[in-house]
Point group: C2
Chain length 403, copies 2
């Protein structure tokens, strides 16, 4: 799907080319643009070698004037129609796309009040679904950066300890879930605290995220320090970092926040992004037959209670810094409607109402062989379509262990 990768987009990624080089890249339609080649030809204003690295960290760390300038220069080269762009183009199908950044710290927020309320009701039915601080600060945890993989990499079903009849048993998760999210990628690093007004100078752009969750492992382990093994086995990200600049036309006012957030979390201006996100599930049989995945839910990043600038300000409010390539994700982007449930926990009401797949099977949770695909885009409603591409992965059976 080349739609949404026109001149309005020009995202950044990392590609292994047919000649063996690993380079910073962009995408135009079905072509990948070799930015290192354009840089070596003197057409992009970046230090030598910075686009010949296995991640975008050093490039993004140069800051918004540099990567913003590169994107504008690229757009001019495309518009000019000279031979340089063609010479730097490689067919998309001929490259391997790598994770765009080497993530230093990965934070996952819980920024959707719709997700938090439903998940709270399902997981902690005895109490108030939202904890008392929820409307005062964006709740978050640190995830495992080393488990981040790029779209296309298979995800092994994790084993873990879950309650059993004769005590806890170490078994493959029987409640494997997806979480469709959007992640913010840090460009220029900084010491904290960062005000909400620093967002556009320190966040380079967005990727799609699937924060895989083993609900049974997570439920057993999480008190009092939060999720660990139930989340840390894998997090999948999309390969194209779509810049804030490309998404600027799709900004709109965030939700009304009541009560008003504390001063350091207050935000002025339209800092919600109308980025649509859809997640589908296809069984192995559906994939083999070429049947498209069933849509589990479709939502928008603009449904989030907490906006990106607030997430960044909160994460750094205590003085913590950010480094180039850090990733902070929205949490499940569920909206208010029944069609906007972005994880199976919500969509099946914790497994009690299976989804009916077109192949005649039901899904309480993910099965081996299932392929989960999260897609994202802005526009397409009469405005230019800017695609975030997709993050897709197939569930592989738990590996056998000794004993």
């Amino acid at each position: 799907m080349s739609d949404g990768f026109g001149i309005e987009n020009l995202p950044f990624g990392v590609a292994r080319l047919p000649d063996g080089r690993t380079v910073g890249a962009s995408r135009l339609g079905d072509a990948v643009l070799d930015l290192d080649r354009l840089s070596a030809a003197g057409l992009l204003d970046v230090p030598e070698g910075v686009l010949a690295q296995p991640s975008l960290n050093a490039f993004l760390g140069l800051g918004r004037p540099v990567y913003g300038g590169v994107r504008r220069a690229l757009a001019r080269l495309v518009e000019d129609g000279g031979p340089a762009v063609g010479a730097a183009s490689v067919p998309l199908g001929d490259v391997d796309l790598l994770p765009p950044v080497a993530v230093g710290d990965f934070v996952d927020f819980s920024a959707s009040i719709h997700h938090a309320t439903r998940a709270g009701r399902l997981l902690r039915p005895e109490g108030d679904p939202l904890p008392p601080q929820w409307r005062h600060l964006p709740v978050a945890y640190h995830g495992r950066a080393g488990s981040i993989v790029v779209s296309g990499a298979g995800v092994l079903r994790p084993r873990g300890l879950v309650p059993g009849d004769g005590g806890p048993a170490f078994v493959p998760s029987a409640a494997l879930d997806l979480e469709a999210e959007v992640g913010f990628v840090v460009g220029a690093g900084a010491r904290g605290p960062l005000p909400t007004t620093a967002f556009a100078d320190h966040v380079a752009g967005l990727v799609l995220v699937n924060d895989w969750s083993a609900r049974d492992i997570q439920a057993y382990e999480s008190r009092p320090l939060g999720p660990f093994n139930g989340k840390s086995f894998a997090t999948s990200v999309s390969p194209w970092l779509v810049t804030l600049d490309a998404l600027a036309p799709y900004r709109r006012p965030g939700p009304v926040q009541d009560p008003a957030p504390a001063h350091h979390l207050a935000v002025a201006g339209p800092w919600a992004y109308d980025v649509r996100v859809e997640v589908t599930v296809a069984s192995a049989a559906m994939t083999a037959a070429g049947t498209p995945g069933l849509s589990v839910g479709c939502s928008s990043l603009a449904e989030l209670y907490w906006t990106g600038p607030q997430l960044l300000a909160h994460a750094t409010a205590n003085g913590a810094g950010v480094r180039p390539g850090d990733l902070f994700a929205s949490g499940t982007v569920s909206g208010p409607s029944p069609g906007s449930l972005m994880c199976l926990l919500e969509a099946t009401e914790r497994g009690s109402r299976p989804l009916a797949l077109p192949d005649g099977t039901g899904r309480r949770w993910l099965e081996d062989g299932d392929t989960v695909t999260v897609r994202g885009w802005a526009g397409g409603d009469g405005r230019p379509l800017v695609s975030l591409g997709e993050v897709s992965a197939t569930i592989l059976p738990a590996i056998e262990t000794e004993g």
Copy 2:
């Protein structure tokens, strides 16, 4: 204090030398040994340049045969008494010690049943102090790798949201605490799961850790995803990685675990380390007067309910991998006795029983200007003393923010 840095120890660190080079280093008494120089002279069997980097990650990633071999070669050079060691020696006072590794993922466990029980009673007095899973798996959370600093770096008092009379207020923490811990540093990386028997092949050694904790921020934010801003502002580590080989003589059987852990967490052999840890607090006035810090508590890593091999096996049981330089810490190493309480939460019973400092002041929590020092060592009881050195830091006032 040069004691405990004899030929039995020979730890690894990273030093910035007076000539401006940053090198892999060891320590012998009050001298720092420039390992890059010894390597360049052909006296150490490592690839060129691997000891001329700003972290030990690449060196440790070569695996136990390599770094173990380097340590044995160093010991032979010292014993031989030739000129090479002297030529590579720099006075300790002339170098800056840097963090020994660039931590990829930082995990903090809660491996002491004494700490977990006391903290649970103090923080959640309404329920069972230990959650139901505690004796079945080592509880843990991921911390912020980017906030790790080396001994000597000042720690800014964090601001955060805490409950107030008129709703939550964003204020400097009024309950700043220390947590004296020991951290395990990963050498050779691997995909998970790793069995407990893989511990000595994938953990290079130990450092001391102070996992600073703002108890008021932590208490307000932690449900349901665990601590975030209350921990992520800073974690201090000691500069010298003391190898498992150096500590092998101090291994002893771990505690009796009841119930027996699941098969994948079972461990055979003496995998507890009798590494003593002491933490002291000195006020600014005491520091100015040269008064030694008050001992808050003294404990041993051997008091932990969960041993290092079990922590590694649990963290990777779900398939998560480890990378060179990853750090997983014990959690507060408190023991059973009143003299072995290794954080102020325990030692002051959540601030209700202030510690009396020699300068006449009391401490419910840390004050600005306080210096906290965690020291660690093995032996000294008739057996050779092997020091882990210290991790020390002074609390700096919260920085002013706009508004």
